[in-house]
């Protein structure tokens, strides 16, 4: 008996191992390199206020220089790094001149650490804070290439060159669809600086960090440069139409678009028989929006019948609201069955906060996958199989009753045969 139980235990262990092997997805680690070179531009504020001694006893400028030196040492090989300054040269009081003061200190390209460090060492805090113009120039510096693009803006004060709002500038740069992110760091920022820098970051899907200590600065900048080195899929820019007939035909892939408040965007996808369409959409809020929002993605036939929809709604602070849908097209016995055109409609219910520009539209990201369809579904349970003690009990009872009946039947037959 004991031996048999051991055997049973062995069988169980084997089964468990088998199940474990089948059920656990194999290790998958992202390991892609060889992406087009990622480009990063560090934009440093060298305005007069950087002389303030309030970061660990030293000036803000000293902290920035030290951080730059550390970051330059740790920059990954593949990253093309450039440095731009703002407010480094013009000492005068003329606002017009001061607001043009942005200089390319080190061009974006393969990094020569010594040269870059020498260039940084020469900086002395001087002039105005023309953040907007500097961002525009930095975006130009990063033009070209297919890699990721990142601007890291380090500033200690708000833009002094109104009416060009750097936040609007950032949004316009992002709307060019070149996949550029702006991360901002505020050195001992006041409330206004913080608002402006976080607005710039939000407008491009970047991050905002407030810095009070030297190490925080070098850690964060280093982290952002490393992040740029991570290979990511570059989305394809597309432009959805206002109705299905005019919509662009999409294949499997990742797409970006812009969608204004209350606007609808249509796309088309071909789905063959036995294939499944998967679409996911996220609409990001890159500006101040109302606290309640939503997104609706509908798959509609060319005749306007809704097949399936994905909807999401939310409230409160968010970076994006997203939803998705699946549409498995049944397999057809007909060999001539053609692919069906499925229209995808995206609408959002974000509302712009008072005084916020509504153009360009909100960034929209759409993934489309057309894959093999699911295999048939005929029963709630796996292959109609059962499980549990009730099932065992029922089967035992039925077996027992069947055995009894069979036994009585055969006895009765024997008795009949004997009497004859």
């Amino acid at each position: 008996m004991i031996r048999r139980q051991r055997l049973a235990a062995g069988v169980c262990a084997l089964l468990a191992a088998l199940t474990a092997g089948l059920a656990f997805p194999a290790g998958a680690v992202a390991d892609e390199t060889g992406q087009a070179a990622p480009k990063v531009e560090l934009v440093l504020d060298v305005s007069g206020s950087m002389r303030t001694r309030d970061i660990d006893g030293g000036t803000r400028m000293a902290a920035a220089k030290q951080a730059f030196n550390e970051v330059l040492d740790a920059t990954p090989e593949e990253v093309q790094l450039g440095i731009r300054t703002l407010g480094a040269n013009y000492r005068g009081d003329d606002r017009k001149e001061g607001c043009k003061d942005t200089e390319r200190l080190y061009p974006v390209g393969p990094l020569n650490r010594t040269d870059a460090k020498t260039a940084v060492a020469t900086l002395a805090p001087t002039g105005w804070t023309p953040i907007g113009p500097a961002l525009l120039k930095a975006a130009d510096d990063l033009n070209g290439g297919a890699g990721t693009r990142r601007i890291v803006l380090i500033s200690d004060g708000e833009d002094t060159c109104q009416p060009l709002d750097p936040c609007v500038v950032a949004r316009e740069i992002a709307a060019k669809g070149i996949g550029l992110t702006i991360d901002t760091l505020g050195l001992v920022p006041d409330a206004k600086t913080r608002d402006q820098l976080s607005c710039i970051a939000d407008a491009t899907g970047g991050t905002y960090t407030s810095v009070q200590h030297k190490e925080e600065l070098s850690d964060r900048v280093g982290q952002l440069v490393d992040r740029a080195a991570d290979p990511v899929v570059t989305p394809v820019a597309t432009e959805g139409a206002d109705r299905c007939e005019k919509a662009p035909a999409l294949k499997s892939g990742l797409y970006t678009d812009r969608e204004e408040f209350g606007q609808e965007r249509w796309y088309k996808v071909e789905v063959g028989p036995g294939q499944e369409l998967r679409a996911a959409v996220s609409v990001a809020d890159d500006r101040t929006v109302g606290p309640h929002y939503g997104v609706l993605l509908r798959a509609v036939t060319v005749h306007g019948r809704e097949i399936v929809r994905g909807e999401a709604a939310g409230t409160g602070r968010t970076d994006a609201v997203s939803t998705g849908l699946r549409y498995p097209k049944p397999d057809s016995d007909d060999d001539d069955a053609t692919a069906e055109t499925v229209c995808l409609q995206v609408t959002n219910s974000f509302s712009a906060a008072a005084g916020v520009k509504t153009r360009p539209g909100l960034p929209l990201e759409l993934t489309v996958d057309v894959v093999d369809g699911p295999s048939g579904h005929h029963d709630v349970a796996s292959f109609g199989l059962g499980r549990g003690w009730w099932l065992l009990g029922a089967l035992v009872l039925i077996g027992f009753v069947a055995g009894l009946l069979w036994g009585w039947l055969s006895r009765w037959r024997v008795a009949v045969w004997r009497t004859n």
Partner: protein, 266 residues
């Protein structure tokens, strides 16, 4: 007769021993240790950092960042995502939230767990948790059931005072899962797991490197084929027990030995 009885009893015992044991045999995801656990987080669905179940991922960021990770979950697993956020020394009251999205970027409901939690002034850390529903092998396209594939975790602060924005924080995230097994086994299976970008063919470049992919959890390798569940064991054991009970019932009607009515020596 004696032999069949012993054999029957033994089979019954074997069945009883194997039944529940096999039914509960959980293919627990092997904790792959913390070696090579990611130390950063992505900032969007597209850049989400991939982690394995059982890995303790860490990341440092700023209050206000949206931190994204992704992990794979297979049929029959009930994932639990836990996150701990270490807040800076001084801060005002702030509310943190953990959201889980599936491979179609649909928000997944948490069955239980503190998905949103408010840290009062100066509280050093916040702990969040989300227990998802069991991942099914198949569901109707109109349903929002969790399906095998990539799951995204988003960790962020949803309510904070303006002065807390941009302060350094560090976060730890871990996804584990409980195996629910055959109780959640459904008929049918997806053609491909719900991994974003699975339909985009990634061809190796000339230098042998692969281009970036949306999610690298793969389409074919390692995912459950969907045909196995412990229901096979239960049903098989049920069949055997039914047969044995049938034999038992039959034997009862025969009585033991020769029929009493037959005179000795007939």
């Amino acid at each position: 007769m004696r032999i069949t009885r012993v054999l029957g009893a033994a089979l019954l015992a074997l069945g009883l021993a194997a039944g529940p044991a096999a039914a509960d045999s959980s293919p627990s995801p092997s904790a792959s240790g913390d070696d090579r656990a990611p130390t950063r987080a992505g900032t969007s669905f597209r850049t989400a950092t991939e982690i394995e179940q059982g890995q303790q991922a860490t990341a440092s960021g700023s209050t206000g960042d949206y931190l994204y990770w992704s992990f794979p979950a297979d049929v029959g697993q009930r994932p639990t995502v836990k996150a701990t956020v270490k807040l800076p020394g001084t801060h005002g009251s702030q509310t943190w939230q953990l959201d889980v999205y599936d491979g179609l970027r649909r928000r997944q409901a948490c069955q239980y767990g503190a998905q949103t939690r408010t840290a009062g002034q100066g509280v050093p850390s916040v702990e969040l948790a989300c227990v998802l529903r069991t991942v099914r092998g198949w569901s109707e396209p109109w349903a929002n059931d969790p399906l095998p594939g990539t799951y995204y975790v988003r960790l962020t602060v949803v309510d904070l005072g303006a002065s807390d924005l941009g302060q350094p924080v560090s976060a730890e995230v871990r996804a584990d899962s409980k195996d629910i097994g055959g109780a959640a086994a459904v008929d049918g299976s997806l053609g491909k797991p719900l991994v974003p970008g699975v339909a985009v063919k990634t061809e190796e470049r000339k230098d042998g490197s692969k281009p970036a992919v949306l999610s690298s959890f793969g389409s074919d390798d390692g995912w459950s084929s969907g045909w196995w569940s412990d229901r096979w064991v239960w049903t098989a054991i049920g069949g055997v027990l039914a047969a044995l009970a049938g034999i038992g019932g039959y034997a009862l009607t025969r009585g033991s030995g020769r029929p009493s009515r037959v005179p000795p020596g007939a």
